[in-house]
Amino acid sequence: MLPGSNHQWVQGLRESAIKRFAENGFPSRRDEEWKYTDLTGMSEQTFQPVVTPGTGSDGQPTEKSQIDHDNAIIIAFENGRWLFTEAGLDLPPPGVTITSLGKMLSDFPDRIKQHLALFTNPADHSLVSLNTAFSHEGAFVHIEKGVVLDRPIRLQYRSTSQDQPHLSLPRNLIVLEEGAEAVVVETYASENPFAAYWNNIHTEVALGQNARLEHIQVQDESLAAYHTTFTNVQQARDSRYVSHVYALGGLLARSDLDVSLEDSGAECELNGLTLTSGNQHIDHHTRIDHIEPDCSSRELYKGILADSSRGVFNGKIYVHPDAQRTAAFQSNPNLLLSRKAEIDTKPQLEIFADDVKCSHGATIGQLDQEALFFLRSRGIDELNARNILISAFAQEIVKKVSHSELQEELSELVSHSLLKLTGSHEVN
């Protein structure tokens, strides 16, 4: 039995989602939103769903997945099952709830009713319906009014090799009440670099008035994994959402990030970095809705593609009729390291207000030959010179992370991932 099915509203939610998924099925390439990403191979595979609820319990870790050097509050999952929630030596301050969403669904569903699946438009994404229908686990993060949490919250999802490819449906709900502040790191990784599985994730974020969230999402799945993730952000007046999306692993990965600036003064900053090699396929769709006046959005997504890998970037910005004095900037520079690598980039600005400042730009290029010669003229060999320039291109995204320890950690992760793309030389 799925958690929460004894509650009518949860059951209702699930039933209608099942119905929608049955009607819509898997997205196909006939759908404009899925033009460049073909799920046929995936939908023909058999994935074993993971349905057993987790065995961990609050405060009693069965296993610690990493050294807690930044005093983080960790909630860990394995193959979609909840393992533990661990706050280190210091308990989280009052007003902070970080726990299993499955537990909330079965024990305290009314505490999440206000936010769960409220803003998701299931008509757009049948894979979200699939998640809503069958998800049994995930993280629930709730920060009460005015609480500022400077310790990062880590949602760690880890997959292991199973006898059969498995399907996990992580579901996260992050709620920051008025004036609350937090840093949340969501990580999807595999202990086996070739494990085959499918993670179909849905993360919902609700930011109250003047709330501030720095949200880091790291996709470092196995190279045989499928990863589909849908993040939905609702922002109230004067709230600020800063997103950092890292797409490093996965055989096929699709990420949708929808941000809705619901009231004036709300701002969002979306940063993304995609590193692909081999025959990886990584697709990013972002959508920002400017609904009310005086909101701003700034988006910088970068891609570095090697071998015969493939990237997709589709960035939509909708400026609704009332959204006067909107400022929206989008940029998507890409670096192709091989002739066989390919990127499809499509900025899409739809502007229905007249007093707006909007710009977008996309570039696809190779390394700057002049810079390469400059470095070589200083005695640095060609391979190292290339690596220095590639690393500089990538690290610009990492520098956007304001939490310094997390920035350092991501910098190392990115350097390590770049080795895949550039060969065996260490990148400075």
Binding site: L375, R378, G379, I388
Partner: protein
């Protein structure tokens, strides 16, 4: 140090250097002057190994080695340094990281140990004083957002750290105000030594008021039209390049 013999070079199949000869001995300072388009920068870039230029004929010996067969990075590690006319901006590449990587590449090439952090800082500090450069620029991206003068100082800083045997300065004086020119000149003069040679490529004789050359060559239409001493530069200053072109 450097022997250039009948050097021909082209860009996009357009001949620029047309049989250039030049001999530079250790400890000498040579100024190469000439009008725009005469091939001054081409010469500097060919010597540094820029692949945008095709050497079609001729030979260059550097410290007994055939320079044109060496990769740009090997030339640098063997002590050749080019200060660029237009130093390139490199967002995200830290200035300190560049200096250290460059120095260590050279040390490794010489079979020496890499420099440790403390010695490196000491070295940088002493070199910064020579070029009177703001410390803060060290931790910025290479040349990004630098003023014209700061970029040129940064080139001289790299030169001072790498201590080349042969320094080629491509219009390092252009675009500098008088204070910056003096600072940059002081940096160059500090590097003067009996074993080190300097080739100054310049359009104006102004920098020669501060860095005194042993020889002055006038490059016109891809060849050295006339060689002389400091007096030749002053003559050119007075009369322009026209009379030489005419003579040629």
């Amino acid at each position: 140090m450097l022997e250039i013999e009948n050097l021909h070079a082209a860009v996009d199949q357009k001949p620029i250097l047309k049989g250039l000869n030049l001999s530079v001995k250790p400890g000498e300072i040579h100024a190469i002057m000439g009008p725009n388009g005469s091939g001054k920068s081409t010469l500097a870039n060919v010597l540094a190994g820029d692949e945008n230029y095709d050497v079609t004929q001729g030979n260059v010996m550097y410290q007994g080695m055939s320079l044109l067969e060496m990769a740009p990075e090997i030339r640098a590690r063997e002590g050749l340094f080019l200060a660029f006319q237009y130093p390139v901006e490199m967002p995200g590449v830290n200035n300190m990281v560049l200096l250290k990587a460059a120095l260590n590449a050279k040390l490794k090439h010489q079979g020496k140990e890499e420099i440790d952090a403390a010695d490196f800082l000491k070295l940088i500090k002493s070199r910064l004083e020579i070029v009177e450069m703001d410390r803060k620029l060290l931790n910025r991206s290479v040349n990004e957002g630098f003023s014209g003068g700061e970029k040129k100082r940064n080139e001289i800083l790299q030169m001072a750290v790498l201590e080349p045997q042969l320094a080629i300065l491509d219009e390092t004086d252009s675009g500098l105000d008088i204070d910056a020119l003096q600072t940059v000149s002081r940096g160059i003069n500090q590097l003067k030594s009996p074993s080190r040679s300097i080739v100054l490529v310049t359009h104006y004789q102004r920098i020669l008021d501060y860095v005194s050359p042993d020889f002055v060559h006038i490059l016109i239409n891809g060849q050295i039209a006339m060689s002389g001493d400091r007096e030749l530069a002053l003559e050119v200053e007075k009369r322009g390049y026209g009379w030489l072109e005419f003579q040629n």
